[in-house]
């Protein structure tokens, strides 16, 4: 009894950790498995029936699936660029300058993150309609909405990186004959860049993923999350699992490449 107790004691953390990991990744695993499912028999049954390569060979077979993915990527990229540029400028302004209303500004920029999406989405819709854009809802209104809610996340991410930056470094650059422009590009930007990059990645995944706000302001335009939602009413085509698995693999590859690169750099430095 005590032996078993001791065994559990010494393995509790490990077992617990593995269970939590399993819990987190079961959905991804199921999606990956289902991407090989032949559902031609019963479309509205989300259940593994027969193995097939078909879904991977013809991912664009279902109508509008791939076009919705393209739309989502387009909006995601544009929203990322827009939000990252605006948010980075805002972060610099908030960290580097003391001005009246700075504290209020911080709060105002933080609020959208705390606002329920349904509230933000419906107020945006009301705004667009009031502005006379009710008939033109679509790609551009979605983009405007996405840039808007991504800005807060970018500001917060870049701001924390910028606040951790030693102000002496810029003075040292100025002392070493770098003018304002050179100081920014040679010292400030390279040091803040990791923050900007992670803000951009965050913005893209937020935009790509968004359903509620998008759905309220989309008009006839269909993004990937909306496509899945719509398809779910009639039975999800198994190709959706292919897209899902691909997205997961891309994210995984990005993480692995980043980690391998960092490890190689460390090793190269250590070897010198």
């Amino acid at each position: 009894m005590t032996r078993i107790g001791r065994w559990i004691g010494s393995h509790l953390v490990l077992t617990g950790g593995l269970l939590v990991l399993l819990y987190m990744y079961i959905p991804n695993i199921i999606v990956a498995i289902m991407s090989f499912n032949d559902s031609s028999g019963a479309r509205n049954l989300y259940k593994f029936q027969k193995f097939t390569w078909d879904n991977w060979l013809h991912p664009c077979a279902p109508n509008n699936l791939c076009s919705s993915v393209v739309t989502s990527i387009e909006i995601g990229l544009l929203a990322t660029i827009g939000a990252t540029v605006i948010g980075t400028f805002a972060a610099f302004g908030l960290v580097r300058h003391r001005f009246a209303g700075r504290t209020a500004m911080n709060l105002v920029l933080f609020l959208p993150m705390a606002t329920p999406e349904i509230v933000m989405g419906s107020s945006l819709l009301a705004l667009f309609v009031a502005a006379g854009l009710g008939g033109q809802l679509g790609f551009w209104t979605i983009l405007i909405a996405h840039i808007m809610f991504c800005i807060s996340f970018v500001v917060v991410t870049v701001k924390s990186r910028l606040a951790g930056l030693d102000g002496n470094l810029e003075q040292a650059a100025a002392d070493l004959y770098a003018n304002e422009w050179q100081t920014f590009w040679k010292v400030t930007f390279p040091l803040v860049f990791p923050g900007i990059l992670s803000a951009a990645l965050l913005a893209f995944s937020l935009s790509f993923d968004d359903f509620i706000i998008t759905n309220l302001n989309s008009g006839q335009t269909v993004t990937f999350p909306m496509y899945v939602w719509g398809a779910a009413q009639r039975g999800v085509p198994m190709q959706v699992n292919v897209i899902g698995t691909l997205m997961f693999l891309v994210a995984l590859a990005a993480v692995i490449i980043g980690e391998v690169g960092a490890r190689r750099r460390r090793k190269a430095l250590a070897a010198r």
Binding site: L169, Q171, A174, R272
Partner: protein, 384 residues
């Protein structure tokens, strides 16, 4: 920007330099200062005395409220920091973490598009014994190495003036001593004007040709370490630079002329003489100053081998044996405690026990006379 010009006339000159911050705090008060070209100059003072602000104004990182800064005939008061022939070694080194050591050192040369920057970098890395560290990042170096990188990064540009802001403050005592020697060696080798800001009086004295003691935004006194120590003009300097016994006295007469001129002062019944060149007051109420190691101590009744101002009736209240020396604290008949450092030459063959009645004396030429209207405790610092 330019090479160090041979010959003279490129002195750093601060004229009426004044800095008041927007919150009303005056950090530097109408400072006039000339730092001769090629000298090792120390600005010494407690924290908050304005020494760092002065340095930052010279670097161009702080704008003076009024006054001018010039090097030779060139007025650089309004010049941008990146256009000044001045480089700084920052207190926390401020090395660029994303660049290698070699790239850090090359930074200034690259900005000025110096064509053989690679060669110059290697030379300076050799001078500072950092060749091995060239490809590493600052985060992989020890504190002492980082300090040398900061120094190399500044002097590779051959500035006319090198500013050092507490450059050894972050190092431990042993490394600090080693780096003091190193800094002095490098300064002699490159011949650049060094302006060194520090609160460590030992550091300032061991390295600098000239020391300016700063307090509350003004320079209290400036001179060679020897002059400052042996002939302080204010109680602040007397206490901040080493330690001093300051004894209240009343001037009772002045005698002699020229080099022989002396002032006689009555300290609680004993009349002491002080050389006129070491008298820094016209007042009648004065403080007679004497450095602890100049005070000789001997049990009552035995002969003291120095002619001079002698006082009897002191009682040893504390004796701290420190190996090379012994610190005695002696309570004088009027209640004041004076300190006396005695070298342990072995001549005495032991310590004077606490409670012994002693005579103390000193040679008159070692004493100095200050105005008694000053704060007697000004400049006293806790040992660190």
């Amino acid at each position: 920007m330019s090479q160090v010009s041979s010959g003279t006339g490129r002195d750093l000159r601060l004229t009426g330099l004044h800095k008041t911050y927007p919150n009303g705090f005056t950090a530097v008060h109408d400072l006039d200062l000339v730092v001769p070209q090629g000298s090792f100059f120390a600005l010494l003072g407690p924290s908050g005395c304005g020494k760092t602000t002065t340095l930052r104004m010279v670097a161009g990182l702080e704008t003076p409220t009024k006054g001018t800064i010039s090097i030779g005939d060139t007025d650089i008061t309004e010049t941008k920091p990146y256009n000044r022939p001045v480089n700084t070694v920052f207190q926390n080194y401020a090395l660029f973490p994303h660049l290698s050591i070699a790239e850090n050192v090359e930074f200034g040369l690259k900005r000025r598009k110096v064509y053989d920057s690679g060669k110059q970098v290697q030379e300076i890395l050799a001078l500072t014994e950092l060749v091995e560290q060239g490809p590493k990042r600052p985060g992989q170096l020890s504190g002492g190495q980082q300090q040398r990188v900061a120094l190399a990064r500044a002097i590779v540009n051959r500035p006319e003036v090198l500013l050092l802001d507490e450059p050894l403050g972050a190092l431990d005592l042993k490394l600090r001593r080693a780096m003091q020697v190193e800094l002095k060696r490098i300064q002699e080798e490159v011949g650049i004007t060094f302006v060194h800001v520090t609160h460590d009086q030992e550091e300032a004295m061991s390295m600098a040709d000239t020391v300016a003691v700063m307090n509350q935004g003004v320079i209290e006194q400036m001179g060679s370490p020897y002059d400052l120590y042996t002939n302080p003009h204010t109680t602040f300097v007397a206490n901040f630079l080493g330690r001093s016994n300051l004894i209240r006295a009343t001037v009772v007469g002045r005698e002699g002329t020229g080099d022989d001129a002396v002032v006689k002062a009555d300290m609680h019944g004993t009349v002491a003489t002080v050389k006129a060149s070491k008298v820094h007051t016209d007042a009648k109420d004065v403080l007679l100053g004497i450095r602890p190691e100049k005070v000789l101590i001997q049990p009552e009744g035995t002969a003291i081998d120095a002619p001079g101002s002698s006082i009897s009736g002191g009682v040893v209240v504390d004796a701290s044996y420190l190996g090379v020396s012994t610190d005695y604290t002696v309570r004088m008949p009027w209640g004041q405690e004076i300190i006396c450092f005695e070298q342990n030459t072995g001549r005495r063959g032991g310590l004077i026990p606490v409670g012994t009645t002693v005579d103390v004396s000193w040679r008159p030429e070692f004493a100095f006379l200050l105005d008694a209207s000053q704060d007697v405790d000004a400049g006293i610092v806790e040992e660190d």
